[in-house]
């Protein structure tokens, strides 16, 4: 209440980034490696949500599925088809890995939309690790499966010979930029959306603007619901595309 009163008196106060602060759940100490923080809490909730959807909801193993089981099957079919279509038949053995990424991202994104929630996937530490895991997996799989032929990915044999070295440099750069774009796309989208909602919420302190602010927050929230799913989808499908490059490196 004091904040609102203060805001009306002394101008607007925005704390759009406060929601992203990592802090310990118990006590006031610093954040060490193994400290139980709000990150731990919301990741644990994501795990619980995934277990609830994928394990508990499917426990009846009904030939005629319940509502929860339908959603679990839908998620399974969605990712499975994506892996099969994009990465090919031999990409299917990476399906549990890709399913893990998709389920974690989509669950964390949606949990982050709950009021007062902490969005784990809005942190570059998290999305960066996810992207690097994909990057290293793809690189290692590429070299293990194809050896040095994997480097053919950078040698565009369909281009004129004179252009090939230049293209190779561009390809190499783009290859190493992948984890950066991969992680910043996800983290940046979520961070920006959540911050914008917070900014609109800050405007609600002015009585005249507050109805408009509420409408804007509602609209942004709808958009964020869309973004939460789309970013998980984009991350997953890009993983499949990168995996396809590793499995079938020829252009």
């Amino acid at each position: 209440m004091a904040t609102e009163a203060h805001g009306e008196e002394g101008g607007l106060v925005f704390h759009p980034m406060d929601q992203f602060i990592v802090k310990p759940l118990f006590g006031d100490g610093g954040v060490g490696m193994f400290t139980i923080t709000n990150v731990t809490l919301w990741m644990a909730l994501a795990v619980l949500a995934i277990v609830g959807l994928m394990v508990l909801a499917t426990s009846r193993r009904g030939v005629i599925p319940s509502r929860g089981q339908s959603i679990a099957e839908l998620a399974y079919g969605f990712v499975y088809k994506m892996v099969e279509d994009v990465a090919g038949k031999d990409g299917v053995k990476f399906f549990p890995y890709i399913m893990t990424l998709f389920m974690f991202i989509v669950t964390a994104n949606f949990l982050g939309l709950l009021p007062l929630a902490f969005t784990t996937t809005s942190h570059f530490a998290v999305t960066g690790v996810l992207a690097l895991l994909v990057f290293f997996t793809v690189t290692i799989v590429g070299f293990v499966k194809h050896g040095t032929k994997f480097l053919g990915l950078f040698w565009v044999s369909s281009a004129p010979l004179a252009l090939r070295p230049i293209l190779a440099i561009i390809e190499v750069i783009s290859y190493f930029v992948r984890p950066v774009s991969h992680s910043i796309r996800l983290g940046g989208n979520l961070m920006a959306g959540h911050a914008v909602v917070k900014v609109f919420a800050g405007f609600a302190a002015i009585a005249v603007v507050s109805p408009l602010s509420v409408v804007a927050i509602t609209a942004m929230y709808g958009l964020e619901l869309l973004v939460a799913f789309i970013q998980a989808y984009v991350f997953t499908i890009l993983t499949c595309v990168y995996l396809k490059d590793a499995l079938h490196p020829s252009h």
């Binding site: 004091a2 106060v13 490696m33 923080t37 994928m54 399913m99 998290v126």
Partner: protein
């Protein structure tokens, strides 16, 4: 609360002035760039991913795959069964149609036979009746002829008697032979 607000204002200003001025502090402009929390986040992320991976790959995904396969199997079986039943239905219909046609042919045969029998019997009876009728007609004709002959005879006798009586009544003397000759010539004439 009020003091917190004041502090927050300070931070907000720091946000506005930029991350660089504030970067190393406990609460920098962008918490995403606060590297002191990275190890914590990465640690818990890896724990989370490992847990999710094992839950999915050991329990959830095989289970869902089994359920989907089972459903696919059930659907395939049902479709096969439906195909089978449909075929049986078609067969049954064919058999029914055939039985119907057979029965119809049989019925027609029976009708034709019955008709033939009846016709034959009828012919026989009609012939018999005709013969009887002809016999009776002949008999009747004979009887009529007899009656006619008797009647002619009677007429002759009556005429002769009558003529004789008339002659006698007129005072003549009736000669039997003359009267008979006269009557005979008259009847013939």
């Amino acid at each position: 609360m009020a003091t917190e607000t004041h502090e927050a204002v300070g931070e907000g200003l720091a946000d506005a002035t930029g991350v660089a001025a504030h970067g190393a502090d406990a609460a920098p402009g962008m918490p995403q760039l606060d590297f002191s929390t990275f190890s914590n986040q990465i640690f818990w992320l890896l724990v989370t991913l490992v847990v999710i991976y094992f839950v999915l790959s050991r329990i959830a995904l095989p289970r869902i795959a089994a359920v989907l396969a089972e459903r696919q199997g059930a659907i395939t079986n049902d479709l096969t069964a439906a195909e089978d039943l449909k075929r049986q239905a078609v067969e049954a219909e064919e058999a029914y149609n055939k039985a119907l046609a057979d029965a119809r042919a049989e019925a027609q045969k029976i009708v034709a036979e019955a008709k033939g029998e009846i016709q034959a019997e009828l012919d026989v009876q009609i012939a018999k009746a005709d013969a009887e009728i002809a016999a009776k007609a002949a008999e009747s004709e004979k009887a009529i002829a007899e009656i006619r002959a008797t009647a002619m005879q009677n007429v002759e006798i009556v005429a002769k008697d009558t003529a004789a009586e008339i002659v006698r009544a007129l005072g003549g003397k009736a000669d039997t032979a003359t009267v008979e000759a006269a009557v005979n010539s008259r009847i013939k004439g």
